[in-house]
């Protein structure tokens, strides 16, 4: 039982990160119908920056987190400007490919700037741990889950009541690609990227507080977060959260009970299964066309 609990706690921690990343994918998809492959690198950038900030200046933790969240939002806006606004043809395919390039570039910049150094943040509650049923639960894991709850709640409220949010919600029903360019003009695309960036930054800070992070950890995380978003249904917020935790837990249980070597493959196996059997995901938000 202890093992099970331990694995579950571990799964919740990573699941929270996946959920935040998946929410980012979901919201960008809603705003632009594109998939933002720079998402994982935002997380990495935020985590590394948070760690570096802490190492360099020791500001209060809340300041660090707020700072990187803001930076994440700005990164998002910068992405929109570079990948969407100034594009000759802002169609989802082109945007997606552009974000792939941007992601690679961001990772390279961080590599050059940090030279593979790892950074870490202190836990939000220091080294506090809880003991539940013989298993150790780091307080940080709870913080990360709380982050997800806050983020999901804030997003839900935003989508329901803010005018821009309502517009974003409507775009999920509207299959027209023209919506993407329309949104570019009134900035909804920028908003969705900014939100995605902020979410990723929160995840980055949360992860840096769990274990050391360096330039490399964002790529696989981003891809798994994408798998989570697809599992939940691309464009669905509750789906993203559910998908994130589902993959986090499945991965942890798999690592514990079946094979820790192949745990990383789980997320991608899930991605492929979803794409091949039910591309709309668990909570179908948008119709997926098949040939």
């Amino acid at each position: 039982m202890t093992d099970f609990l331990q694995l579950t706690f571990s799964g919740l921690t990573t699941g929270a990160a996946y959920a935040l990343v998946a929410l980012g994918f979901a919201i960008v998809f809603r705003g632009t119908r594109a998939i933002n492959f720079a998402q994982g690198e935002y997380v990495m950038l935020a985590g590394v920056t948070a760690g570096a900030l802490h190492q360099w200046a020791h500001p209060p933790l809340a300041v660090v987190v707020l700072a990187v969240v803001l930076m994440g939002a700005l990164c998002g806006v910068a992405t929109e400007v570079v990948c969407v606004r100034f594009t000759r043809r802002p169609d989802p395919n082109t945007i997606t490919l552009a974000t792939i390039g941007l992601g690679v570039a961001i990772k390279a910049v961080v590599l050059l700037a940090t030279d593979r150094q790892a950074y870490t943040l202190p836990g939000f509650s220091g080294d506090a741990t809880l003991h539940v049923g013989g298993a150790v639960l780091e307080a940080q894991a709870l913080w990360n889950c709380a982050l997800v709850a806050v983020a999901a709640g804030a997003l839900a409220a935003f989508l329901r009541w803010a005018p821009l949010g309502v517009a974003l919600r409507a775009s999920a029903d509207d299959g027209e690609m023209a919506a993407a360019s329309g949104f570019s003009r009134n900035g909804a695309a920028a908003w969705s990227f900014a939100l995605a960036g902020a979410l990723a930054a929160a995840a980055g800070a949360g992860l840096a507080a769990v274990s050391p992070v360096n330039y490399d950890f964002g790529t696989l995380l981003g891809l798994k977060g994408f798998a989570a978003a697809m599992l939940g249904g691309l464009g669905s917020m509750p789906g993203a959260v559910a998908g994130g935790f589902a993959i986090g837990l499945t991965e942890a249980w798999f690592a514990g009970y079946v094979s820790s070597t192949y745990a990383d493959v789980v997320a991608f196996g899930v991605l492929l299964i979803v794409l091949f059997t039910r591309p709309t995901g668990l909570f179908a938000a948008v119709r997926v066309e098949r040939v």
């Binding site: 594109a34 998939i35 570079v82 990948c83 100034f86 594009t87 000759r88 043809r89 989802p92 395919n93 082109t94 997606t96 490919l97 552009a98 792939i100 390039g101 941007l102 992601g103 690679v104 570039a105 961001i106 990772k107 390279a108 910049v109 590599l111 050059l112 790529t219 891809l223 994408f226 798998a227 697809m230 070597t261 192949y262 990383d264 493959v265 991608f268 196996g269 991605l271 492929l272 794409l275 091949f276 591309p279 997926v288 066309e289 098949r290 040939v291």
Partner: protein, 322 residues
Amino acid sequence: MSSVGEPRERLLVLALVALGLLIAPFLFEGDYEHGLLVGFCVNLLLLTGLNLINGYAGQVSLAQAGFYGLGAYVAGILGARAIGPVWLSFVAAPLAVAAVSVVVGLPSLRLRGLYFTMASLGAGVVLFLLFGRAVSLTGGPNGLLGVPILELGPLVLDTPTRIYWLAAPLALLGLAFAGWFAASRWGLAIRAAATSEPAAAAAGVPIFRLRLLTFTLSGAFAGLAGALEVYENGFVSPEPFGFFAAVTLLVVLTLAGVGTLLGPVVGAGLLFAFDELLADASDVRPLIIGLLFLITVQALPHGLVGTVADWRRGRREARERR
């Protein structure tokens, strides 16, 4: 947008490439240099294959690097464990990858555009992860050792130079095949389907089947490239077959010119240039690749070769109209 030149033009391109491949090893002498030339041929095969599915069929695939690795590992494992004669491993690689391409392609090619790309990405990453994790089979992150010398019957290809004289004709043949395919009935059909599926279907084109065929062919090219690579190196490790490698192939082909005959050649040249110019600054390479992709995808979607072709055609049509 793909373009297939007249047979005369294609022949000219092939002749030039053949000439280049013929004289290169005499211009650049030495084992190390010839090893690089083998690398050029390997990349040419990879890009030619990618061009089939990407350029002519219009389906962006991120699985090519994974397929490349699969070919390398299949050849390497069969060779290292002496399962059958060495030449068998060389032949088995493209066949194995072709088979896996069919398995991946069957469900993936039913998906539209971006979703297919995602599926190919997933497949590529799974392969990459397996290369590193299946330690007993592949040697894990440290790589596979014990790959023997490539022997094809009486031919013992134990130096880069000798392997080059196998790689170069294969690459040339591959390019010739691709050119022929693009101009054939099936090539025309998938190029048409890439622009309008309803019209192609209404014209009698079995779109899914042809795309599956194309995807399988591109996998076979990757498998062959992998086999050449592993025998040239005598070693294989997972590193060159991951997400970044897949992106690099895509970037380079897009920049060079997707859907053209010269595109893969220029692309292989670009890769060669990157490797040489950035050999000491390998950390800068991803930055350049990333930025190049960002710019190319938005500003130069037809790539270098494509843009030149567009320009030439524009002039020709303006002349005709007068």
